[in-house]
């Protein structure tokens, strides 16, 4: 299908981008990698009068890993994250998750910031950012503000972003040496959005798991942190942690059916993945 006609602008600075967004208000839409937005236009689910392509704005792409945190620019592509050796060492969760995003051609264009702004509940990055307790750097004409990923996702495709605001970067506190990560998802075909997925982190101490974190995708309108399951697993050996988290998970998740999978099957699959992820975290 073909999109409705639209105008196109490619600002060379943030200030110019804010000008355009201010002038055109609701009629304008930010374009990053285009891997979600162009599809919505082609399906005629959205018909903005102007696309503001931010890919020429300098300074929005790139990865920087410091001692206690990593910073990922909004325009950093999925593929760049997948292939970054630095990130692979500091935040292995991200490379594990990246492989599941669409296909290579999509990962070459799609961006980290775009995925977070899109807020698809079945997407990988939002769940990872929730598990990692990442902080989004949001810019507007008046300046910058920061918002925790755990507070950023408000509803189905809804975020904390106000009109005229852009995600410029994400800062992720490093969970520290010795932590382990496991990202698992189930999708019918390679590259499909997940039926259910889990982003799991923990620091093994002896036989037990500490600082357990579990965030789910594909189980509701937003990525879902599972505080009850996390608490149940905390301080237990992996097998015990798995059983305890599975038993507690009902209190955290209330998945709705999707086209192909019933709510009950989703809940069952979330429990299966919880067990697999926690066992994979064992030292």
């Amino acid at each position: 299908m073909k999109p409705p006609s639209f105008a196109y602008a490619r600002p060379g600075s943030l200030a110019e981008a804010f000008d355009l967004l201010e002038r055109h208000g609701e009629d304008a839409k930010v374009l990053a990698g285009g891997q979600s937005l162009i599809a919505t236009l082609n399906m005629r689910l959205s018909s903005p009068a102007l696309l503001v392509d931010i890919t020429a704005v300098p300074g929005l792409a790139g990865i920087a890993v410091a001692k206690d945190k990593a910073r990922i620019g909004a325009l950093t592509t999925h593929r760049a994250i997948e292939r970054s050796a630095e990130l692979g060492a500091a935040l292995p969760l991200l490379a594990q998750a990246a492989r599941h995003i669409g296909h290579v051609a999509i990962r070459n264009l799609g961006t980290f910031g775009g995925s977070l702004a899109m807020a698809d509940p079945a997407a990988e990055w939002p769940a990872c950012c929730v598990a990692l307790d990442a902080e989004l750097v949001v810019a507007r004409r008046a300046g910058e503000r920061r918002v925790r990923a755990r507070e950023f996702f408000k509803g189905l495709y809804e975020t904390d972003l106000a009109p005229g605001e852009l995600v410029t970067a994400v800062e992720i506190p490093l969970p520290g040496r010795g932590h382990r990560a496991s990202f698992i998802e189930l999708a019918r075909r390679v590259g499909d959005y997940a039926i259910v997925g889990v982003a799991a982190l923990a620091r093994p101490k002896g036989e037990t798991l500490e600082d357990v974190r579990l965030a789910y995708l594909g189980v509701g309108p937003t990525p879902a942190l599972a505080p009850h399951a996390m608490a149940a697993a905390e301080g237990k050996p992996a097998a015990g942690a798995a059983a305890a988290a599975q038993a507690a998970l009902d209190r955290d998740l209330k998945p709705a059916a999707d086209l192909h999978t019933s709510a009950a099957a989703k809940m069952h699959l979330a429990r299966v993945l919880t067990g697999r992820a926690l066992r994979a975290l064992a030292p």
Partner: protein
């Protein structure tokens, strides 16, 4: 009319009659139209409206459906709810099949091929590979407020074969016989042909079920796989092996449509013309959908006449140019169109040699055509390039003997006369691994041994089979038109309607047994639908073989994780 269709002459007839235009004034041109799979062999309201508007406005009108429109109006297929029963002796001999098919076809029957054909095939073909004495089949057709259904690649076969093979596996399990052994016992013997003993009336000229079964079991190393399966089960790995024998209707005679009153040609023709330059133009009523018809017509014509492939040009899909014909459906292109090309080629070769004999004042019987030249049959010594022969025949016939007329254009037609259908046969096997915790099915490998008679182009034949198998796997595991309770299609896009993609496809091993049909000189049977016909049954049987020790069984297609989990009682 530039039209994305598989049946240009049928559409010419339809447009002419429905719009009240003399047929001679309607020309339907369909170029390489791309994948069609039966979808483009029907008459659609949008296309009739486009033609009607063009007539009313007296100007060209163009209509292109977008993806959603295609999903909503292109024919759907295979909505069946079937109960099948099998009777066999304790020793393992099949006695009979009993079948009750409820099929939904949408709000009306699609013109002009009718939507009843699919169910008709199900009741005709179930049990087809196996000897049996008793047969009862009932079909109930109901209308629904969903989209129409009609003929889609391997019409009815995937259902009939999946039913047959599922109940055959159950019978084998009930009497405690290995499923391969049960099939060996019951497949029609290779020396029983012509076989006309079926109570349902199917007639088989010559099939090779047992050769195919033996070859398949050797190819897949069946015993080793069974041993490996048993060993892995002890480690909690649930693999399944599924077999599916099949028969396929190809090269149909008028029994399909003509006798039912549909104005659809069962015959096809080919015209071959030697050009003055020594090039050969081939025009045939069969169309090209990407399956390689043009390629094999070029091969057949080149070898029949004695040319190299680069000298042959093929024109198909134009009612203003080609002989009258049926087009592409029911695996008829190679077997029917190809035979017409072969016969025309042989006749043209003879006519060319007449001209050569006249030019060279030689005995025709001493001449032959090899590599674009007339040569001495005995010594292969070059006598006359065809380009020179063409020049003389067209531009200097004055130099030929008085009264000699050269005839360098030949048309021949072919329609199968001895059997209503030229059945093919084959057998497939699937190896899968089922994850009982997630209900996910992983395809590990797939095998197919198929007998399409003469293999004209091995690469095209193998890829037809592979593509067909992938389409069959789509039905078994992925594809389904989902409707809401209000009759709205819920997944009319390629993100939500899951087609099989390369990431999930297993290696597919293909091998052949060649039993040419004696009805034609070419000996080719069809091959375009065989893969699709057998694959769903093989995959479903493999899944159920994996689930058997867990006491579960899936009977609905596609076997989604949700359905597998339900079968396992996990949700």
């Amino acid at each position: 009319m530039y039209h994305s269709t598989q049946a240009p002459h049928m559409m010419q007839d339809v447009f002419a009659r429905h719009l009240g235009i003399p047929e001679a004034n309607v020309r339907v041109v369909c170029k390489d139209v791309g994948g069609s799979f039966g979808i483009k062999v029907h008459v659609y309201a949008d296309e009739m409206a486009t033609a009607a508007i063009s007539v009313m406005l007296r100007r060209p009108v163009k209509f292109v459906a977008d993806r959603l429109e295609s999903f909503l109006t292109d024919i759907h297929a295979r909505e069946h709810d079937v109960t099948v029963r099998l009777a066999c002796t304790k020793a393992g001999d099949i006695v009979g099949f009993d079948l009750d098919d409820l099929t939904a076809i949408g709000p009306y029957s699609v013109y002009p091929r009718t939507s009843g054909i699919e169910g008709n095939q199900v009741v005709n073909l179930t049990g087809g590979p196996y000897r049996h004495k008793h047969y009862r089949a009932k079909m109930h057709v109901v209308f629904t407020n969903k989209n129409v259904t009609c003929q889609y690649r391997a019409v009815g076969h995937p259902i009939a074969m999946a039913l047959t093979e599922a109940i055959v596996d159950r019978a084998a399990a009930e009497i405690g016989m290995d499923p391969a052994e049960f099939r060996r016992r019951n497949l029609i013997p290779d020396d029983a042909y012509p076989y006309t003993a079926f109570p349902s009336g199917l007639k088989f000229e010559r099939l090779s079920h047992h050769q195919c079964l033996d070859k398949l079991l050797a190819l897949m190393d069946y015993r080793r796989l069974r041993a490996e399966q048993a060993a892995l089960r002890k480690q909690g790995v649930h693999r399944g092996i599924g077999l599916a024998a099949m028969i396929e209707v190809t090269n149909p005679s008028p029994a399909f449509y003509g006798v039912g009153g549909a104005r659809i040609s069962a015959q096809d023709g080919a015209t071959l013309r030697l050009e003055p330059t020594g090039m050969l133009t081939v025009m045939c009523g069969v169309t090209e959908q990407g399956q390689g018809t043009d390629g094999i017509f070029a091969q057949i014509a080149a070898s029949a006449v004695g040319l190299t492939l680069d000298k042959v040009r093929v024109i198909t899909g134009d009612t203003g140019v080609t002989p009258y014909g049926g087009g592409t459906w029911a695996s008829r292109g190679a077997g029917i169109g190809g035979e017409a090309v072969l016969q025309a080629g042989r006749a043209l070769r003879s006519n060319i040699l007449d001209v050569a004999a006249a030019i060279l004042s030689a005995d025709k019987a001493a001449l032959d055509i090899v590599g674009n030249e007339v040569v001495s049959r005995l010594t292969l010594e070059s006598k006359l390039p065809l380009a020179e022969l063409g020049r003389v025949a067209y531009f200097r016939p004055d130099t030929l003997p008085p009264k000699f007329q050269s005839e360098l254009t030949v048309t021949r037609h072919y329609t199968p006369r001895e059997y209503p259908f030229t059945f093919t046969n084959g057998i497939q096997a699937s190896l899968v691994e089922v994850d009982p915790d997630t209900g996910f099915v992983k395809l590990l490998k797939h095998w197919c041994v198929e007998d399409c008679g003469t293999v004209i182009n091995p690469m095209l034949v193998d890829e037809q089979i592979r593509g067909g198998i992938v389409q069959g796997i789509g039905a078994a595991l992925f594809e389904e038109c989902l409707y809401g309770p209000d009759g709205q299609l819920l997944n009319g896009n390629m993100a939500d309607y899951l087609v099989p993609m390369c990431g999930e496809m297993p290696d597919i091993v293909v091998a052949h047994v060649e039993t040419p049909t004696k009805q034609s000189a070419l000996g080719a049977k069809g091959v375009g639908e065989a893969g699709t016909a057998g694959a769903p049954g093989a995959v479903m049987n493999a899944i159920n073989d994996a689930l058997a020790p867990l006491g579960a069984r899936v009977t609905a297609q596609p076997a989604t994780p949700d359905r597998v989990l339900k079968a396992l009682g996990k949700v």
